[in-house]
């Protein structure tokens, strides 16, 4: 295995949460013990970041992502365990790299440069490049306390990447700044990757994690939940966030379920093309809904229907029942109904599924699970990029001359001729 750029060995880190912080003598003397609680932000993290990899750290708020990054940056010292770092490092935490508010942009560039281990001459040689990347040339002689958040972040990012560290730690920088600056960030980070440097970034933007990172680490309440290929980790993270644990379904809550109850859908699971239970699917790949029913009495003429909504409930994307596809059920006892979409046309996003059992002219509802099953669709790298909500197979053609000559076009494709 290649050398690790960063190796965390059983790292534990706690904060003391003081109920009333006391820093003065009076309080120290009067209340000899400060009342505080120990909060464990990191609980025994073992982690290796391979040289040249781009690793994303994901997790809910308060899961320890920023503490992890600060510990890697050696800003925080762990209570137990240790972090090994091989290579020069620059960190960009909470958008800053330690600018002094009273100094100008120019002065801060040189100060930060030396904080990141560069000589004055090095920084001077890169100065123009830094200003160019930051794109705030007219403001370089203004004290940074007068900068806007965006300008501040631009300059900080420009300095951090321009000192060319072997390891770059970035915390949420990609979420600020305008489109133009974000593009520059992406470009620069891509260059960084191409140069074989190591990047660790924390982000809540799963799209950036997926497009920039090759590895991802999922932290949950200070512990490592999952680490591995970025796509997989993000998928299981999103699966859980949007759909609860992707295991056997627990069924809908009471307020999402109604019906007379002569027949019940006792179990509903979402499966992918390999028959694995999941809540994350890819565009163009199969989605299978397998429902188990139990009928208290024999019921003829029953239909099963399924609807898909966008997670915010504002768009009804799909709705059909089994009869329209040639299936009318006669239920008695227990059995299984399966609804298969062989090529899921939905694009990336969060969705929710309703299923129901009812009689033929929908006069009687036996069991209705209203928007009870959340699932998430992620991009399929095999398909061309596309915006919107649905994937549509399509063709594009062009010719010159008579617009109505489409009957005999000099089209390269002959598929329409049949």
């Amino acid at each position: 295995m290649a050398l690790s750029a960063i190796a965390c060995h059983d790292v534990w880190k706690s904060y003391r949460v003081y109920h009333e912080p006391s820093h003065t003598l009076k309080e120290k003397v009067l209340f000899r013990r400060n009342r505080y609680e120990e909060f464990w932000a990191l609980k025994g993290i073992d982690l290796e970041v391979p040289v040249g990899s781009t690793t994303g750290i994901i997790g809910a708020n308060g899961s320890g992502k920023s503490t992890m990054l600060k510990t890697m940056a050696r800003i925080l010292t762990p209570n137990a365990g240790y972090v090994e770092v091989n290579g020069t490092m620059a960190s960009l935490l909470e958008l800053g790299i330690g600018f002094h508010p009273d100094l100008t942009g120019r002065e801060n560039v040189f100060l930060s440069g030396s904080l990141l281990g560069r000589t004055r001459r090095d920084v001077a040689a890169r100065y123009d490049e830094i200003v160019d990347l930051a794109g705030i040339e007219p403001f370089m002689d203004v004290a940074v306390k007068n900068y806007s958040t965006g300008m501040y972040a631009r300059l900080a990012f420009a300095v951090a990447v321009s000192v060319e560290p072997e390891i770059l730690l970035v915390d949420e920088v990609l979420s600020v700044g305008d489109e133009d600056f974000q593009m520059r960030c992406y470009d620069r980070i891509s260059e960084f990757k191409a140069e074989g440097r190591t990047i660790v970034l924390v982000s809540h933007a799963m799209d950036s994690i997926r497009s920039l990172c090759d590895r991802a680490v999922w932290l949950e309440e200070g512990a490592l939940r999952e680490a591995g290929e970025a796509h997989d980790v993000v998928a299981s993270y999103l699966g859980e966030v949007h759909g609860g644990p992707s295991g056997p379904s627990e069924g809908p809550s009471e307020e999402r379920r109604f019906g007379s109850g002569e027949a019940l859908l006792t179990d509903v699971v979402l499966l992918d093309g390999t028959g694995r239970s999941t809540s994350t699917f890819r565009t163009g790949e199969p989605l299978v809904v397998r429902m188990t029913y139990a009928a208290k009495e024999p019921l003829p003429n029953v239909l099963c229907s399924a609807s898909v909504y966008r997670a915010d409930g504002l768009a009804h994307l799909l709705g059909q029942n089994s009869r329209s596809r040639g299936l009318v059920l006669e239920l008695s006892g227990r059995g299984v109904i399966e609804f298969t979409v062989p090529e899921l046309p939905l694009l990336k996003g969060a969705y929710v599924l309703s299923v129901a059992l009812h009689d033929d002219p929908v006069t009687k509802i036996y069991d209705w699970h209203d928007r009870a099953y959340s699932f998430f669709v992620v991009d399929n790298p095999r398909l061309p990029p596309e915006a919107g909500m649905v994937h549509v197979e399509s063709r594009w053609r062009t010719w010159t001359g008579d617009p109505r000559a489409a009957a005999a076009p000099p089209a390269p494709e002959v598929r329409s001729a049949s």
Binding site: D10, K70, G98, E229
Partner: protein, 295 residues
């Protein structure tokens, strides 16, 4: 390559045995040496921030001592009119104005006192750095001491020019000056390490040090001479226990009075300085891991 789960769910209890790699003092020292350029930049930052927005800028460092000397001269010559306690004449018998006598001791006292007052808050006021980047933290008090050294250099130049013009050319005794200043610097840095670390946990330190420096000033023969209190042996002994006494008296001797340093006192001061440095280094080193969280 599929995803792999690397750890089990977190254990419920924090670890009892802590495995930590301690920061060795030697390692810290190496970092300090490696961060030379950063130190210089931090000193530059201190001075820039101090003079930010002023018309004269760095010239203030020169103007302040010049104005002070002029002021003392006027006050002691025309207002107080006394010629107090310069009871150790120069070997050549040249007259020494009291203003210069006072100023000579004041330069090195200011070096010490500025170092302490600046450095006490050097860590707590650098939160913007400590929370963002890794840096060898001991350079923060060091930068404060060194910026005070820059201020001292200006004052010292003014002093020597005034001595040259008013009293006469200095002798070879002046060669002792760097050694005397070095003792003051070691002492200042040792105490700076201690105070800057303590101030993180107990913010009263910054207030306390202001009062302490006032007391300490009057307990040091800056505005009076050792001979002035010689009649009272108790006070004289007490003064000799003050680790700044040897430094102030010696620097005045070699710059102004054309005499050698008080080697006995100076040796004692050096001893104190080294103890202060050792204690300061240990306290600072042991507490620095908490700085980023508490500032």
């Amino acid at each position: 390559m599929g995803s792999q789960s690397l750890t089990a769910p977190p254990p419920a209890l924090p670890p009892r045995a802590t495995r930590r790699r301690p920061v060795s003092i030697r390692g810290s020292l190496r970092e300090l040496v490696q961060a030379r350029e950063l130190t210089v930049n931090l000193v530059r930052r201190d001075l820039k921030v101090e003079h930010r927005g002023t018309f004269l800028g760095m010239l203030w460092s020169l103007a302040t001592p010049l104005l002070l000397v002029a002021l003392y001269y006027v006050v002691f010559k025309f207002i107080i009119g006394a010629h107090p306690a310069v009871d150790k004449p120069r070997p050549d018998g040249n007259d020494v104005p009291f203003a210069l006598y006072f100023f000579a001791g004041l330069t090195v006292w200011n070096l010490f006192s500025n170092s302490l007052s600046r450095s006490t808050t050097s860590v707590t006021s650098s939160g913007y750095l400590l929370r963002k980047v890794y840096l060898p933290k001991a350079i923060l008090p060091l930068a404060s001491v060194l910026s005070s050294l820059v201020t001292f250099a200006f004052e010292f130049v003014v002093l020597m020019v005034a001595v040259l013009l008013v009293v006469g050319p200095p002798s070879a005794q002046l060669l002792w000056a760097p050694a005397i200043v070095a003792v003051a610097l070691v002492m200042a840095y040792g105490l700076a390490l201690l105070l800057s670390a303590v101030n993180v946990f107990l913010r009263d330190t910054a207030h306390f040090i202001g009062i302490l420096l006032q007391l300490w000033f009057w307990a040091t023969p800056v505005i009076y001479s050792l001979q002035f209190v010689a009649k009272n042996p108790g006070v004289a002994t007490l003064l000799k226990l003050n680790p700044m006494t040897g430094v102030v008296v010696s620097l005045r001797n070699v710059t102004l009075l054309d005499r050698g340093p008080e080697l006995g006192l100076l040796a004692g001061d050096l001893g104190f300085a080294l103890i202060a440095l050792a204690v300061g280094a240990v306290v600072f080193n042991r507490s620095q891991r908490l700085f980023a969280e508490l500032v």
